[in-house]
Each structure stands twice: as C-alpha cells, then as structure tokens.
C-alpha cells in the first residue's frame, strides 16, 4: 500500500464529562481510496471515534492527523479539517428552513467563497447523481427519509471533501429506503472516495469495504478484509459479535 495516509489516529482516549471512559486507546489508519467499515456492539465507541475525526468530539489523549493536518484546539485548524471532511449523520440533519438546493449551496458559497451560480450548477449535478434533482426546490420536510439522506450526502459532496464519514447513515431509515442510500454510497466508493462508515449493514461491508474494523469497549479489536472478517475472524470478541448479529 503506497497511497498516502488520510487518517492516522493513535492512542485516542476520551472521557465524557460524566466520567464515562468512551475511547480507551483507539487506533486507526486509513489510506486514500480505502473504504473502512467500523462495526461493533452499541456503546463500543464507534460513533464517538469517527466524530473525533472532524472535531465534533474532543479527546484527552492520543493524536489524530487528517490529510496531513494534526487536530489541535486551534479553531482555524479544526475548520480547515472540516472543509476537507464530509459527514453524514444518522438523523440527516438537513436544514429545514432552507430548500434542498440551498442546503447544498450554503457552505460552498459561505466557506469556499465560490460564485453562487457555479455552485448551483454543481449542486444540481450532484442531486442528479443521487437521483433527486426534481426535488431541488422543495423543503427537506417534504421528502422521504431516504431522499433526505441522499440530499445530506450530496450536501457534503458539494464541499468537495477528500474524506467522507458516515455515522450510521441507514439506521433511522425505513427498511425499504436503506438500499437507495447504500447504492449512492457504493457508487461513491467506486469513484475512489476515502470513506469511513459506521454501520450494521453486513452486505454493504462485504461488497464495498476494503477493510472491516471491529470496535468493542473503546478500542479497535480486529481489522481484516471483509471476507476474512466475516468467515474467519481471529478474535473471540469478533466471533461473539458476529454470532449476535447473525
């Protein structure tokens, strides 16, 4: 593997203000173009871990370097990282007071200072790519959950990020809408986007992931290519987890 390191997290420890020790020395390396799926039982710290990558959660020990920039308390530094890292949330978090198109164009115009007409053109292309360009003038509340999540993905892509983080992107969706969102993510992976995905979708992990990571109790227990992880895991903790979700 010679492609450059996009994410390098070493010895990350986090305590919540209530004293809960959520991350206990979590480690992860992600190279350009890799799709890393993080799995694990609830409460294992998966979401907390990827939320530290763009500074949504702070951490007390260890270090995280994103695309060559080391996370520190410096606000400018965090904003610089956030411009390069897109994030998709479980609850979509679209801005309900803006139209779909405005949701996409807000950040590129304000943060990247790009001309509005140009951003709108790009936004419409992206919406076409995720299959909802007819809805550009609607408000998020008028769309289905699956459509909202696809808009959220397009919104992140409109900032032209180098890394995309997905925090359980299909967990809040009705079952019949899961596939349309996964299809968009699969296409994104095929185009070479570096992705870290927290999910319970085994089929997605098998088909798309370059590596599956199992987290438990705030640490990374095992990482392996999907075939090996699902058929012949090396750790007892992984076998236990696979039995539970089977």
């Amino acid at each position: 593997m010679t492609s450059p390191l996009m994410i390098e997290a070493t010895g990350v420890e986090k305590w919540y203000p209530n004293g809960f020790h959520a991350l206990r020395g979590a480690e992860l390396e992600v190279r350009q173009g890799e799709v890393v799926v993080i799995m694990g039982p609830s409460g294992s710290g998966k979401s907390t871990f990827i939320r530290t990558f763009n500074g949504l959660e702070d951490f007390q020990k260890g270090s995280i370097t994103i695309d060559g920039i080391t996370l520190s308390d410096d606000i400018r530094n965090i904003d610089a990282i956030r411009r390069e890292v897109g994030m998709v949330f479980q609850q979509f978090n679209l801005f309900p007071h803006l139209t779909v198109l405005e949701n996409l164009t807000l950040a590129p115009v304000l943060v990247r200072k790009r001309p509005k007409a140009e951003v709108q053109r790009q936004a419409l292309e992206l919406l076409e790519r995720v299959g909802i360009h007819e809805q550009a003038g609607k408000y998020p509340g008028q769309l289905s959950g699956g459509q909202q999540q696809r808009v959220a993905i397009a919104r992140s892509l409109c900032m032209e990020p180098r890394i995309m983080l997905f925090d359980e992107p299909t967990s809040a969706l009705d079952p019949e809408m899961v596939q349309e969102v996964l299809a968009v993510m699969q296409e994104l992976a095929r185009d070479g986007m570096t992705m870290v995905v927290v999910t319970h979708e085994v089929r997605f992990a098998r088909q798309v992931a370059s590596r599956v990571v199992l987290m438990a109790d705030g640490v990374v227990v095992e990482q392996a290519p999907p075939e090996q992880f699902f058929t012949n895991p090396s750790h007892e903790r992984s076998r236990q987890f696979l039995r539970q979700i089977a």
């Binding site: 994030m87 609850q91 801005f95 007071h97 959220a152």
Partner: protein, 398 residues
C-alpha cells in the same frame, strides 16, 4: 357566516341546564352592555378628550413645528401601504378578505375618529388624505409589486430603518431643523417613541444574551446569567428610578443622557432580559444536530448561528417575543411615575386641571382603547409574520 336558528338552538340550549346558563349570561351581558352604552352616549362628557386631543397625541410639542410630525406620519403611512402591498403582491384575489376588513376599518377610523374628536375640517382632511394615500400605495404596490425583481422587493425593507432615522431627526430637530428637546415630547408620541426604541434595541441585545447564556466561554455564560436573572428579579419601576438616579452619577457630565433617554435605555435593558429568555427557549428547540451539521460543513460558529440555528430558533421564539413587546408597550405607562409625560402622564396632568375634574372615566377609557389598538396592531403583525414563515415549509421530523 349565516346564523342559523338551528345552530343557535343546538349550541346555546342543548339541555335545560345549558339553556339556563345561556339565559343568565345573555342577561348579564345585555345589562352590562346597555349600561355601558347609556353612559358612553348620554352621560360621559367627551369634551375632555376633544379639547385635549393634541395634548394627548403630542404633549407640549411646539405648535409651529408640528408640520414635521405631519410629514413623518405621511411618510410612515406611505411606507406602511407600500410594504403591505409588496407583501401581498401576486396574491389572488388582489384584496383578500382580511385586507378589505383592514381597509374599511382604516377608513372608518379616519372619518369617525376625526368626527368624534371634532377636529377642525382642515385637520380631518389631512387624516383622510393620509389614510387615502396609505390605501393607494397598498393598491399600487399590490398590483405592480410582482413584476419587480425579487431583489428590489426585498431591498424595500431598508426603507424602515432609514425612515426611523429620518423620523428621529424630524422629531428632535437638527440638520437645519429647530431642535425640540425630549422634555417637550409627550403623549402618544412619547409612548410610541419609547416603545419602538426599546423594541428595536432590546431584540438584538436579547438574542446576544441568549447566545451568551449558552456559550462555552464561562465568563460570557455567567455574565449573561447574572444579568438576565438580576433584571428579571427586579421590578421595572425600581430599575426606572435607579436609572434616573444612577446613570447621572456613573457617566461623566455631558454624556449622561436626558431623562427621557435614560428611561428609554432602562426599558431596553429590562426588555432584553425577557427577550433573551424567549430566544433561549427557541434555541433549545433546535436539535443539536443542526449545529453539528453546519460545523461539519466547515461553517465557522458565527455563520452557523446566523444561517442555520437562529433562523429556526427565532421562528419558535417569535410569539413569546412579540408578547414581550406588547408587555413593553404597556410598561411605558410606568414612565408617568418617574415624571415623564407619556400617554398616562399627560392624562394625569389633564385630569388635574380643575376644568376637567371628575372626568377620569372618559380619559382612562380613551387610554385603554388607544393601548388596545397599538397592541392589537403588534399582535396582528406578528401573526401575519408567523403564518408567512410557516407556509414556507413544514418542519422536519427528526
């Protein structure tokens, strides 16, 4: 809106007990209503209002400078009509029922009001022209507004802050106009000035306090908390007295504002604490994911607040905030207790005049109606704003 006998029967006399209650209530209402009407039409002596109408409106504003206020009223009426028309442009029918009702009310007020006050004919004519001008602007803007570019229509909002500044110059003088010191402002003029000044300034101040209260910077957070809780714990009248006495000591000689302005600032700082609490409830209603999503897109905190969080929070906080504005308008009557001649203060001087002794019922009733009109206007405006904001979109269910 047809009143059917069947429906009346069903709603008022469904059971014998219902019928009894209805009869008793109708009796009470009729008795009170007829007694009130009898007093209003035959016993009350409205000369106290007719003779002092200018005093109630303006206080002791110099008579030879009153043309400035006529000019301001005219400008305000034209701006109101135009804004109203622009907001309604493109609607079908061109005059919705509510607008027709408002127009009829305005015409009725301009004719019946000026007649009841027995204003001289030239003054009556001026009121007719002003309300006519308002309605003409409403009609023209409503008819042609939709053919204007959106930027022009939105830009028209700039007229209001400009008009406010022009109004301040017209009222207080300067720029070549003869200065009229605040001590000569009075009546409805002073009441509206004080409340509009406080409403305009307490809103941004309240938003900043609410944001400060939720800030992660401890000094800012605790500063906001202490301020809000201190102000909300003290009665306004104490703060008004405090303001009159303390501001004079605290600020060096020339900087201490005039008594009228001191009161205006106290009202502003007082209302800001309450607006802050209303806005805080609005902020609490915005899911934390909104700020996270905005920050994840790389928006710095101020931009995330301005473009994502506040638009949603203020929509939620709007009804409570307007309620606060209405309270503020009514609270201006306390100014009479610190010796300012607002509507109530003016009324008290009029009632102290031996010529009008014993006419307090007439005076207080007039004040009540005036205040009710102002508050109703505020309330209607906010409801119109609310429906307008709500029709834009349905909220996301998270």
């Amino acid at each position: 809106m047809t009143i059917s006998f069947q429906r009346l029967r069903r709603e008022l006399f469904a059971t014998p007990l219902d019928g009894l209650i209805s009869l008793v209530l109708i009796g009470v209402l009729l008795a009170a209503g007829s007694a009130f009407l009898k007093w209003m039409l035959f016993q009350a002596q409205w000369t106290v209002i007719q003779a002092n109408s200018t005093l109630f409106a303006l206080g002791r504003y110099p008579i030879d400078q009153q043309w400035r206020l006529w000019l301001l009223t005219t400008l305000l009426a034209l701006a109101t009509g135009t804004t109203w028309g622009l907001l309604r442009s493109g609607s079908t029918p061109r005059w919705p029922r509510n607008d027709l009702v408002a127009a009829v009310l305005l015409i009725a007020l301009a004719s019946a009001g000026t007649w009841a006050l027995q204003l001289p004919f030239p003054i009556q004519l001026r009121w007719w022209l002003i309300s006519g001008g308002l309605l003409v602007c409403r009609g023209v803007a409503g008819r042609f507004g939709s053919s204007l570019p959106l930027a022009v229509r939105r830009g028209a909002a700039v007229v209001w802050p400009v008009l406010y500044l022009v109004g301040m110059v017209l009222i207080s003088g300067g720029l070549g106009l003869m200065p009229v010191p605040p001590s000569e402002w009075g009546g409805l003029l002073l009441t509206l000035l004080q409340s509009s000044f406080a409403i305009l300034l307490c809103f941004p101040l309240g938003v900043m306090l609410a944001l400060g209260r939720r800030s992660e910077l401890p000094l800012l957070r605790w500063g906001s908390v202490v301020y809000i809780e201190f102000i909300r714990g003290a009665p306004l009248i104490t703060l008004l007295f405090l303001g009159q006495n303390i501001l004079g000591f605290l600020l060096p000689g020339g900087l201490a504002p005039d008594r009228v302005w001191r009161a205006a600032w106290v009202l502003t700082f007082f209302a800001a604490a309450y607006v802050a609490e209303a806005v805080r409830s609005g902020l609490a209603a915005v899911p934390s994911g909104q700020l996270e999503a905005a920050r994840s897109l790389g928006l710095p905190l101020p931009q995330a607040l301005i473009h994502v969080v506040l638009p949603q929070a203020l929509r939620v906080a709007l009804p409570a905030t307007v309620g606060q504005f209405i309270t503020l308008l009514q609270d201006t009557t306390l100014l009479s207790l610190i010796g300012l001649l607002d509507l109530l203060g003016t009324a008290r001087t009029v009632m102290a005049n031996p010529e009008f002794l014993g006419k307090s019922a007439e005076v207080y009733l007039t004040l009540a109606v005036l205040f009710w009109c102002c508050c109703a206007a505020l309330g209607l405006g906010s409801r119109a704003l609310e429906t307008r904001l709500n029709t834009l979109h349905t909220p996301v269910k998270a």
